[in-house]
Structure formats: C-alpha cells, structure tokens
C-alpha cells in the first residue's frame, strides 16, 4: 500500500478513540474493503515490528474491530492525564449497588436521592448493573462484568460486599492511624 493509504487509515484509527469496523474505515476513507484490510495489516506491522521501538502505540484487532492504543508497558504513566470512562457520581452509585446488592431501586433512592434513576439507566446500558422486576420496584445487582472490570476475583455478591467493606474500612483505619 502507498503511504497515502496508510496515513489516511491511521488517521481514522487515531481520531476514533474506540474500536472501529473495517466498514467504518471504508466509509470515511472511500477505499475498498481489500485496500482497508491490506493497509491495516501493514500498519499493524509497522507499529509492532518495523518501528517497534519508535512508537509507544500499537494497532490491534479487537474482535472484529481495530483500535489504536498504547502498548502495554506504557499504560501506567497515562493514568494521570486520561479521564475515567465512568463519571464520579455514577461511580458512587455503582459502589452502593455493589455493596448493598441485591438492592431495591427504591431503597437506593432513599440512600442517595432521585439522581440514582439516571445513574442506574447508564450503568445498565454499560452492562455493569443488572435490573429485574421485583414487585413494583427494580432489584439491582452487579453483572459478571463488574468483577472483571475491577479485577476483583470473586463473583459472588456477598464476597464483593466483604471485599468493598474490608477495603474501605482498611482505608479509614489507615487514615485514622496516619492522623
């Protein structure tokens, strides 16, 4: 592939910030499927083999999609400058659900107010919280994704609960000690 094709496919991957399908790349560049595929292959080699030590990024296939991302050994120092994908407020609600699960939506509202309805919607759409009807209210639990996401070994609600409690209490006692 020519340099121009490479640069244009690369620019799509860079700006997308999330995995993109071959179809998406074809649509924005106007290249044929074959050209997109071949170019992707060459780009992946460039980043991971030919220019291995000259870039901290890589282009990888993730399922049926492609993404430009940091190579693993460079991810640590990007922590400070990149923003977390779940906003603070929503994260708080998630932690309450994780701790109190299975928890009735109405009880959660009593703990933290009206705003939790929006938060629950968003958490459900992220597939990290599950909701099921229970009488007139919803019963909320975390999904399998939750322990995966946070690298918690346990999948059982009680164990997640214990884990959170221990961690938070631990932090508190630490901060008390350091005072």
């Amino acid at each position: 592939m020519g340099k121009n094709e490479k640069r244009r496919v690369e620019s799509v991957l860079f700006s997308a910030s999330e995995p993109v399908r071959i179809k998406d790349i074809r649509e924005s560049t106007g290249f044929s499927i074959k050209i997109v595929k071949d170019t992707l292959k060459e780009l992946m080699d460039d980043y991971s083999i030919n220019r291995k030590n000259d870039t901290s990024m890589e282009i990888v296939k993730a399922g049926e999609k492609y993404i430009m991302q940091l190579k693993k050994n460079y991810t640590d120092q990007s922590m400070i400058v990149s923003k977390p994908e779940i906003k603070d407020d929503i994260l708080k609600t998630l932690s309450l659900i994780a701790f109190h699960q299975p928890v009735k939506q109405s009880n959660l509202r009593r703990m933290a107010g009206q705003k939790i309805y929006d938060h629950v919607d968003e958490l459900v759409s992220m597939k990290i919280v599950n909701t099921r009807k229970h009488g007139s209210t919803e019963l909320l639990t975390t999904t399998k994704l939750f322990p995966e996401y946070f690298g918690i070994e346990s999948t059982k609600p009680e164990e997640i609960r214990d884990y959170l409690a221990k961690k938070v209490m631990g932090d508190i006692s630490k901060s008390i000690k350091s005072d």
Binding site: F14, E85, L91, K92, L94, S95, M111, G151, L164
Partner: protein, 290 residues
Amino acid sequence: MEQLKIDNDVINHLLFHKSLIDENDDATRINYYVEMLQKTNEGEHISIENPFERSITIAFELVMRQHLDPWDIDLVNFSTMYIKRAKEEKIDLITAGRIILMAWKILKLQSDNLVVSVEENQENEEIFDWNNLPTEMWLENDQDYSYTNLIMKMPEPPLYEPVRRDSKRKVTLIELLEAFNQARTESEEYQFLEQQRHEERERLRIKSRKDMKEKYEKAKSEEDVEAIWKKIHNLNKKTVSIIDLCDTKNRDEFIKTLISVLFLAYDNKIKVYQRKFPYGKIFIENMGYT
C-alpha cells in the same frame, strides 16, 4: 488590619461616576469616598467611628481585596462575603443589609444608569460621524483593513478545529473504593437530612393542628354554630353547598360560617367534603335529613 494597596480601578470608577452626575446633584458623598480611599492608599490608617461609614469602607475593601471588577459585581457573592465581614466586624446586620443595597447601587445600579446615558451620547455620536467612521475609527491601517476584508471574502476561515482523541480509560479499583467511601458519607448525610425534614414536617403538622384547634376554640361561638345549623336545617335538603349558607365574598362571614360548619362536622351533625381538592366547591351533607 492589613493595609490595602488601593486598586486604582475603584477610584477611577468613582471619579468616572462623579464626572457624570448632574451638576445639580451633590457630589459630596463621592468626594468623601474618593478621599477616604486615597488616604487608605497612602497607608494612612483611618479610624471610622460612624458605623454606617465603617460599613461602606468594608464594602470598598472587599471589592478591592477580592479584586472585583467595580463595573461588574456579582451581588450574590458579594453579599455573602459582606455579611461574613460584617459579622466579624460586629456591625449590626440591619446596617449591613442597607450597605449592601447601597454598595450595589453605587457599584452597579448607578453605573448601569450611567451606561445608559453614555450609550445615548454614543448613539448620537455614531449617527453624527457615520460617514467618517468605517476606516478611520476601527480599521486603523492597511493591514487591519485587508485582513478584515479577506476574512469576509474568503470561503474558509483561517482557523480550523484540530482533530484530537477523545480518550477515556477504565476506572480503577482505587477510584471505585474512593467513590464508595464518598457515597457512604453522602448517603448518611442525605438520610440524616431526610430524617430531619421528615421530623420537621411532622412537627409542623402537629403544631398546625394544635393551632387550628386553639383558633377554632377561640372563634367558635355557640350562637353562630346554632344559627348555621338552623340555616342548614331550613334549606331542607340532603346536600347543600356552603354558598347557600353565606356570602362567600364577605371574608368574615365566610370564615365564621366555615368554622361553624367544621364544628357541626366535628359533632357528626353534618359531613363536609369537596369533589375537587383543594379549590372545589364545599358540600355539606345533613346527616339528620330523611
């Protein structure tokens, strides 16, 4: 108290204000402020006995110390800071309130008025000089003129929005735990406040009942109740409206009737209800009617 280096903006602001007030108006007050500020500026300590004037000094100090724009004071913010200062300085709050209003007038309201008068002048000026304006006043040289012209004619602007990544990373466990810690505290506070609100509502409910009962006891007069009961009875209907019993436009009469009606209801002689709450007609059902 820490000496202040007076922001010249504030003095200029006052002078500007002074230069624009009507000749017939008295500028003494402004002169006094300017003099006072200039003295402070020169490091002179001014002890002010008059609480009213001391309050004004504090207002100016705040404006200067907080580097507020004398043309644009955020009154809400200013008031909060001011009340705090006034408390510290032990100025009584009624004076302080008056001062805020006055400071506001001096610093904002009056300048707005002035702006209007300046605006009027400028508008006049504009119409006057319109023919000479375009190049001389604001496109002072060739470069300004060419740039402006080119921008207006060019199909594309010279600025473009660069494409950047909208990168988001995953939330870390530590962040989750921190969120949990905060959520717990906030939830406790939230529930505590809810509980307090609930108790307050309950307290008010009981109090208003008690008040009502006392008022009712005071207001009811046996004769009034008897008279209304007679009226209801004489209408000889199962259900009547309160409109049938009194002139509802006469406030006193209406209240007297309503209280008597409530008393009769309390005695189980009648039933009182509305079909539409709270503004619907008040109906009275005579329990003894057969």
